[in-house]
């Protein structure tokens, strides 16, 4: 006798649903609850004291929190935009290359294999004020002073952005290149026959065609946008004097260093919403671009 409690697709998806529920969903519910308590790791009984939204209120009045939040938002926006532009440029360059395209593509994938923690270390090493490659090179070219790349607030953010952009531009470049190589020749040739300049062709034919690919790249990137934590953690750990603090380093500090779990969880929730916002935004764009391209692919 055949009894169907569950349809085949549900049955097939069940293990995935269970694991994700156990490792992500349930803990998130727990952290949501914790964010309404003054829970400190050192005092377990505090887990059961309900304090309502006091953690959130405290955050909203905290200058450092707002500074970190804003910094995170700005850093992400700059990083994503620069990565996309550089990625587009790189993809176009490689696409135009007549010979050695395979080798170029392989090199282009290079940074993707670097774990963010390695990227952070690598640039910490390069931007180190005494032994770093950058200062060494500048000094060899005759510069007298020592530039404090990772100590000065603005320079440190610049260094962090450099590391972040170095590590993620290739995601854009590779996906956009895949798009460039998949463009059918007919519309391009039709545009040429219709009298478009190379720039017009790029602007009106190539670019719209690439949009879905850019949004895939954006969506993929926004999935693990919080990887920036690894980079910052090893490069400056939010310092000096919390001037490169991002939301995520702040969470880690108040959760594990100060053992202030309730507050950290409240912050974590805000960071989760930020991530979801980014992903959702690009996912929607991707869907729209896909509809726009219609059956063209």
């Amino acid at each position: 006798m055949k009894r169907k409690f569950l349809s085949p697709p549900v049955l097939l998806l069940l293990p995935a649903m269970i694991i994700i529920a156990a490792v992500v969903l349930v803990p998130l519910l727990l952290s949501l609850y914790t964010s309404f308590t003054p829970f400190k790791l050192t005092r377990p009984d505090t887990l059961y004291r309900w304090i309502g939204v006091r953690n959130y209120m405290r955050l909203f009045e905290d200058y450092y929190f707002w500074a970190a939040f804003l910094r995170t938002f700005v850093v992400l926006t700059i990083a994503l935009n620069v990565e996309m532009l550089l990625g587009l440029g790189l993809a176009v360059l490689v696409n135009k290359a007549v010979s050695g395209q395979r080798a170029l593509r392989t090199i282009m994938m290079f940074p993707m294999m670097f774990s963010p923690i390695l990227v952070g270390f690598q640039f910490k090493f390069m931007f180190n004020d005494t032994v770093g490659l950058v200062n060494n090179a500048l000094q060899s070219m005759g510069m007298e002073r020592v530039i404090p790349w990772l100590v000065d607030e603005h320079l440190a953010l610049f260094s962090i952005l450099t590391a972040e952009i170095w590590s993620s531009t290739s995601v854009f470049a590779i996906l956009i290149l895949a798009g460039l190589m998949a463009i059918p020749r007919d519309p391009l040739e039709a545009a040429r026959v219709d009298g478009c300049t190379p720039w017009q062709t790029f602007r009106h034919i190539t670019l719209p065609y690439l949009m879905p690919f850019m949004f895939i790249a954006m969506t993929i990137r926004s999935l693990d946008i919080a990887r920036a934590y690894d980079i910052v953690q090893i490069m400056t750990a939010g310092g000096p004097a919390r001037r490169t603090e991002l939301l995520w380093t702040m969470i880690s500090r108040s959760g594990y260093v100060d053992a202030n779990m309730g507050l950290a969880n409240a912050m974590a929730y805000i960071s989760i919403l930020l991530s979801i916002f980014f992903t959702f935004y690009f996912f929607r764009k991707l869907m729209a671009a896909r509809r726009y391209m219609g059956g063209a692919q």
């Binding site: 349930v26 360059l93 290359a97 690598q122 090493f125 005494t130 969470i251 959760g255």
Partner: protein
């Protein structure tokens, strides 16, 4: 401005060539510098003014980090390496199995709430590691699985599933559904049709999804840094921090460890680069 067409073309060609060269240098130099430094003695790394032409290349840093003598500032790299390998491999295999089932369901069936579920999986992936680590830390502490391989494997399976499902969904969609039907008419059970026809055709794609998952686990830091404590489960990315103490950093040792981390990743990525891009774009664009 009477530049002839031909001159301009040559000029443009040179610009492109220089641009490509600069971009490739920017990509390669940081990594190469690390590799180079891992073979240089500390005196040379720290030298002032900088020594540009390496005078002395050796394996001292590698020897030091693998040596068992704690006096040398040795780090238990070997056990970190083992932990990383065990955790990444196991979690990848499990994620592949579960991801294959899920990806197949998304590729072959239409059911209610399919898009919502897909989006839900994706959103679960967006939760920042550090944010997720807080409640997991509490749960794991209560369950007593902090600082165990099992705990990390479980996390990485969950972390890798959404993306694995996305990729595998795309690869199964490239296999025409008619092949499954042809196989069933040829006498296969649905199970046989899957393993004899659909799986062989999607397997290179599935392998690349696996390597992608492996790399994610291999490289993950935010969760591992909080949920591993000792040589029992600490992974290489966490181990990297062992080289930094309050005031000094063992640059040479870190570079050597970095090289050890990057080599497997390099090899694996080169193997799958083609499928990976195909999978990402296919799954994303064709929907």
């Amino acid at each position: 401005m009477m530049v002839s067409h031909g001159t301009r073309k040559i000029y443009l060609k040179w610009c492109r060539w220089i641009g490509t060269f600069l971009a490739m240098s920017a990509i390669c130099i940081p990594g190469l510098w690390i590799v180079l430094s891992s073979f240089r003695p500390n005196v040379e790394i720290l030298a002032k003014p900088a020594v540009w032409i390496p005078q002395d290349l050796n394996f001292d840093h590698y020897a030091a980090i693998f040596s068992s003598d704690p006096g040398q500032g040795a780090v238990p790299v070997w056990s970190y390496f083992q932990n990383s390998l065990i955790i990444a491999t196991t979690s990848t295999l499990i994620a592949l199995l579960i991801g294959m089932a899920g990806g197949y369901a998304f590729a072959r069936y239409s059911f209610k709430g399919k898009d919502t579920m897909f989006l839900g999986f994706m959103l679960s992936r967006t939760v920042p590691g550090i944010a997720l680590s807080l409640p997991l830390f509490m749960v794991y502490a209560r369950l007593g699985i902090i600082d165990t391989d099992f705990g990390m494997i479980l996390i990485y399976v969950a972390l890798n599933l959404p993306f694995t499902i996305w990729l595998i969904d795309g690869f199964f969609r490239q296999v025409p559904q008619e092949l499954n039907q042809a196989a069933q008419i040829d006498g296969c059970t649905p199970w046989q049709a899957f393993w004899l026809v659909e799986f062989p055709l999607a397997k290179s794609g599935i392998a690349s999804a696996g390597i992608f998952a492996f790399l994610t686990s291999w490289n993950e830091f935010a969760l591992a840094s909080q949920l591993t404590r000792s040589t029992a489960s600490k992974t290489l990315p966490v181990g990297l921090l062992d080289f930094t103490s309050e005031f000094t950093i063992n640059w040479g040792g870190m570079c050597a460890l970095a090289v050890i981390m990057i080599v497997p990743a390099l090899l694996l990525t080169f193997i799958v680069q083609k499928h990976l891009v195909a999978g990402l774009t296919f799954g994303g664009v064709k929907g």
